[in-house]
Amino acid sequence: MIDAENIVYSIGGQRILAYVYATFRPGDVTAILGPNGAGKSTLLKCLTGALKPDEGRVSLDGKDLRHYSLTELSRRRAVLSQANPISFPFTAHEVVVMGRNPYSLEKTTASNAEIADEALTLVDAWHLRDRSYPSLSGGEQQRVQFARVLSQIWEQEEACLFLDEPTSALDLKHQHQLMDLVQKLCREKNLTVIIVMHDLNLAHHCTDRCFFIREGWIQGGGESKKLITADTISDIFDLPKKYAAMRFGMDLAG
C-alpha cells in the first residue's frame, strides 16, 4: 500500500510534479500513463524513495518512506528501471542473484541461487542462465532484470513492485507473458504493482486502475477499462480526436 500526499517536485525552478495525491492498493495493478516528459518517471522515483519530494510525503504501509532504513525498504519494494547496462560479463544468473542482496546475510547462498533459478524460469529466461549479460539482446536483458526484481521480493507478502516501462524492449509474446505474470503475482501475493507505461492497449487490458499525468498534474485513479477511452486519450495526450478514435476508438471506446 503506497500513499502519496501532496507531492511537489521541481528541478531548477521548473515544477515537474504539482500537488500529487494518489493511493495504490495491494492486489491492484495500477498504470501511470501520460505523454513524454509529463513527470511519470519522476513520480515513480518519488514513490520508490529514490527522489525526495520538495513538499508532501510518501508512505508505505502507513509509515513515511523517510523513516525506513535502506535494508528495510529493499525488502518491502523492488524497482525495475528503464535502461540497465552492465559493462562486465556477469552471467544472467549472477545478475538475478544480486536481487537477493537484501537477504545475503541470513539466507544461504544455495537457497538464493535456487530462488534466482525459479525467477528466471518464471520470466521464460532459464535458457539464458549461463549466458553473459552484455551479450544478451535488449528484450532478453529486460526479462533477466525483471527476474532479478522478482527475486528481491520473492517470499514477501504485500510488497510493492515498481516497473518503469517493463515491456519496452519485449516482443508481443513476451509482453503478454510479462503482464500475465505481473497480474498473477499481484493476486497471489497481494502485491501493490505500479507500472509506468506507454502502450495504452496493454494498459487497458492488463491493468486494474490507472492514473494520468499531464504537465505534473495527476488525475484519474479509477478502473482502467472505464478510463482509457478515445476521449480521455485525445484530451491527455493532446491528440486530435480523429487519431484517438482511429487508434483506440474501435476496441476501447465500448
Binding site: L73, S74, V79, F90, E94, P134
Partner: protein
C-alpha cells in the same frame, strides 16, 4: 544451444578451476618468489635457499637486498592490481586504471612536492609522510574525476578518460616545474619516481607499504559483494539496500591509500591495475569476491616477474620496471579499446 551460446558460455573446466584458483595462484606466487630470490648478480641457488645452507655473504644479500625487493614487488603488484579492480568496479568500466585516469600521476605530483619543498626525508617518518601526501594526491584526483564524469548527469566514461588526460597533463607539468626547481639530489629522486622502480627496496619501505596496503585491500575484499551490486547502477544498488555513498567513499579511500602507499615506495608503475583484473575477468569471471583477491595474487606474480626481468636483463645495469610494464600494458590497452568499440562492453 546455438553456436553463439556456446562461445559465450564459461567453459566447464574454467568453472572447476574457480574453486581452487586462489590456492593455485598462492602456490604460483610462492614459486615465483623463490626463483626471483635466487636470481641476480650474486648467485644464490634455489637448493641452497631451501636447504638453508647459505654462506654469510649470500645470507646478507638475501636478507638485505633480495628479500625486501621481492616482498616489495609482491605488495606493490598486489596493491596496484587490487586498486585497478576496485576502481573499475567503482567507475563501472574496465578501462579505469589508476595510471590512465590520472590518480597515480597526481599522487606522484604530491610526492614530488614533498621531496622538493621538504628536502630529502628518510626512515619511517619520511616514508609515511610521503605515503600520506601520495594518498592526498590520489584522493584529490578521484574527487575531480567523479565531479567531471558526472557533469553530463549520468556517469560518462568519455568524461572520465578525458578528465584523466587533463589531470595527467597538469601533473606532468607540475612535476616538470618541480624538476626545473630541484637540485641534483632531488632530480635523481624525482626521476626515479616518475619512471617507477623497486630498486630502492628496504625493509622500511616494505613495512610502511604493507601496513597501509594490507588493511585497505582487506576492506576492499569485505565490500566485494556490494561492489558487485553497484555494477547494476547506483540507483539499482540503492534499491537493493546498498548504502551507495558510504560504499563509494570506502572504495575511493582504500584505493587512494593503496595507490598512494605503492607509489610512495616505488614510483609510478603503470598498467598493472589495468591488465591484471582484465586477465582474471577473462578466466574467472567478474565477481569481485573472487576478482579482488585473485587480482592481488596475479598482480604480485606479474610485477615480481617483470621486476626480475628488469633487474637482470641488462645486468649489471638495471631497467626501471615501470618502463617494462608500460611496454606490455600500452599495446594491451589499445587492444582493449578496440574490443570495447567493437561493442563487447559498450561505452
Amino acid at each position: 544451444m546455438s553456436l553463439l551460446d556456446k562461445a559465450v558460455c564459461t567453459p566447464f573446466f574454467l568453472k572447476r578451476i574457480k574453486f581452487s584458483a586462489l590456492p593455485l595462484l598462492g602456490l604460483l606466487l610462492l614459486a615465483v618468489a623463490l626463483v626471483s630470490a635466487s636470481i641476480g648478480a650474486v648467485s644464490i641457488p634455489l637448493s641452497d635457499i631451501l636447504g638453508g645452507s647459505l654462506a654469510d655473504q649470500q645470507l646478507a644479500v638475501l636478507n638485505s637486498i633480495r628479500l625486501p625487493r621481492v616482498v616489495l614487488a609482491v605488495i606493490v603488484g598486489g596493491a596496484l592490481a587490487v586498486s585497478g579492480a576496485a576502481m573499475q568496479g567503482l567507475f563501472r568500466n574496465p578501462l579505469a586504471d589508476p595510471g590512465l585516469i590520472g590518480i597515480s600521476t597526481s599522487a606522484a605530483l604530491a610526492v614530488a612536492i614533498v621531496i622538493v619543498l621538504a628536502g630529502p626525508i628518510v626512515g619511517y617518518f619520511g616514508l609515511y609522510a610521503m605515503s600520506i601526501a601520495a594518498f592526498g594526491g590520489a584522493l584529490g584526483a578521484c574527487f575531480v574525476i567523479f565531479r567531471f564524469a558526472k557533469l553530463t548527469g549520468t556517469f560518462s566514461v568519455t568524461y572520465m578518460l578525458l578528465t584523466g588526460i587533463a589531470i595527467n597533463a597538469l601533473s606532468a607539468a607540475g612535476v616538470g616545474f618541480l624538476t626545473f626547481l630541484s637540485d641534483d639530489q632531488q632530480l635523481r629522486t624525482l626521476t626515479f619516481w616518475t619512471m617507477g622502480s623497486l630498486g630502492g627496496a628496504l625493509w622500511v619501505s616494505v613495512i610502511v607499504a604493507a601496513t597501509i596496503i594490507i588493511p585497505s585491500a582487506l576492506i576492499l575484499v569485505k565490500n566485494a559483494r556490494e561492489l558487485n551490486v553497484l555494477l547494476l547502477g547506483e540507483s539499482e544498488a540503492r534499491y537493493l539496500g546498498v548504502d551507495v555513498e558510504r560504499l563509494k567513499r570506502r572504495i575511493i579511500i582504500c584505493t587512494a591509500l593503496s595507490v598512494g602507499a605503492a607509489i610512495s615506495v616505488s614510483g609510478i608503475i603503470g598498467f598493472v591495475g589495468l591488465v591484471v583484473p582484465h586477465l582474471i575477468r577473462l578466466t574467472l569471471g567478474p565477481d569481485h569476491r573472487l576478482l579482488i583477491p585473485a587480482s592481488a595474487f596475479l598482480g604480485a606474480i606479474l610485477l615480481l616477474l617483470a621486476d626480475t626481468v628488469a633487474r637482470t636483463v641488462v645486468a649489471p645495469a638495471e631497467m626501471p620496471v615501470g618502463i617494462l610494464t608500460s611496454m606490455i600494458g600500452g599495446p594491451f590497452f589499445l587492444w582493449l579499446l578496440m574490443k570495447q568499440f567493437s561493442g563487447r562492453f559498450g561505452l
